[in-house]
């Protein structure tokens, strides 16, 4: 699964830690999701979409 997390984070001028704080997860989690090593659960995907005020499919794409 591909995602636009790194781009969205850069647009907001957030570090991985900033995004982790917004999501209430560890920086390691953000890094793992961003690099495609870990696919988030549906609740966490909804949370990520909510933080960026986007739809899940605007952030994550099935390849």
């Amino acid at each position: 699964m591909k995602n636009r997390l790194k781009v969205l984070r850069a647009e907001n001028d957030w570090s991985q830690q900033d995004l982790a704080d917004h999501l209430g997860v560890s920086r390691q989690s953000v890094n793992a999701i961003e690099t495609g090593k870990y696919d988030p659960s549906l609740p966490l995907a909804f949370k990520i979409a909510d933080v960026f005020s986007l739809r899940i499919e605007d952030i994550f794409q099935w390849n």
Partner: protein, 207 residues
């Protein structure tokens, strides 16, 4: 991973204190096994290094709070886990010392021997319980996945080793191992799992 004496946030690394504790026990065991000190003195001395458990826990908490050098996840569940493991380990050392001391110094009745021999095992059960609680209490799903992965690797590692060793033992090819060693192998399996997590996901899981 950081060096053993690395400072972090103004204090020493938890590995520094862990190293000191292990070093102290190595010295005490060496002195006791060479009859340089008697078993009573050894028992008293074995309690002293436990005083380092508290600063070790504080150092670990400090490291978790600072996010760690890419190794540790920040979280309350991890802090509670480390505290529980430290307490269980301390109780294990005390129980082991009491059992060894009791067996050597006194003519114990059977029920007392059963109680003393059960206590170290129960303390080790405390570590298994701590790992279980960590899996339940960890709110970060990625870190929880890493801990579960670690525990599965440890279980596969220990059960595989026990199966192979058991048959070798039956065939009189290897020496008999007391069953508690499989718990030790499981803990080593946790370490193997942590290394595999680090390689595959860039972070360790449970410290």
């Amino acid at each position: 991973m950081a060096g053993k004496t690395e400072t972090n946030g103004g204090g020493r690394s938890p590995f520094f204190y862990a190293g000191l504790i292990l070093f102290a026990y190595a010295i005490i065991i060496a002195l006791a096994s060479t009859d340089a000190i008697n078993s009573v003195t050894a028992l008293i001395l074995m309690v002293a290094p436990l005083g380092l458990v508290w600063p070790m826990m504080k150092a670990a908490t400090r490291r978790i709070d600072s996010g760690g050098p890419g190794c540790f996840a920040k979280g309350e569940a991890q802090k509670r886990y480390m505290k529980r493991v430290a307490i269980s380990t301390s109780l294990y050392l005390i129980a082991l010392a009491a059992m060894t001391f009791g067996e050597k110094q006194y003519e114990l009745t059977e029920p007392v021997r059963v109680v003393l021999a059960t206590l170290p095992g129960l303390a080790i059960v405390g570590v298994f319980w701590a790992v279980g609680r960590l899996i339940i209490e960890e709110q970060d799903e990625f870190i929880r996945m890493l801990v579960i992965r670690q525990a599965l690797i440890a279980t596969g590692f220990a059960m595989s080793a026990a199966s192979v060793w058991g048959f070798l033992e039956t065939a009189d090819i290897v020496v008999h191992l007391d069953a508690y060693w499989w718990a030790v192998v499981w803990f080593f399996g946790l370490f193997v799992g942590a290394v595999m997590n680090r390689i595959q996901y860039g972070t360790w899981g449970a410290a």
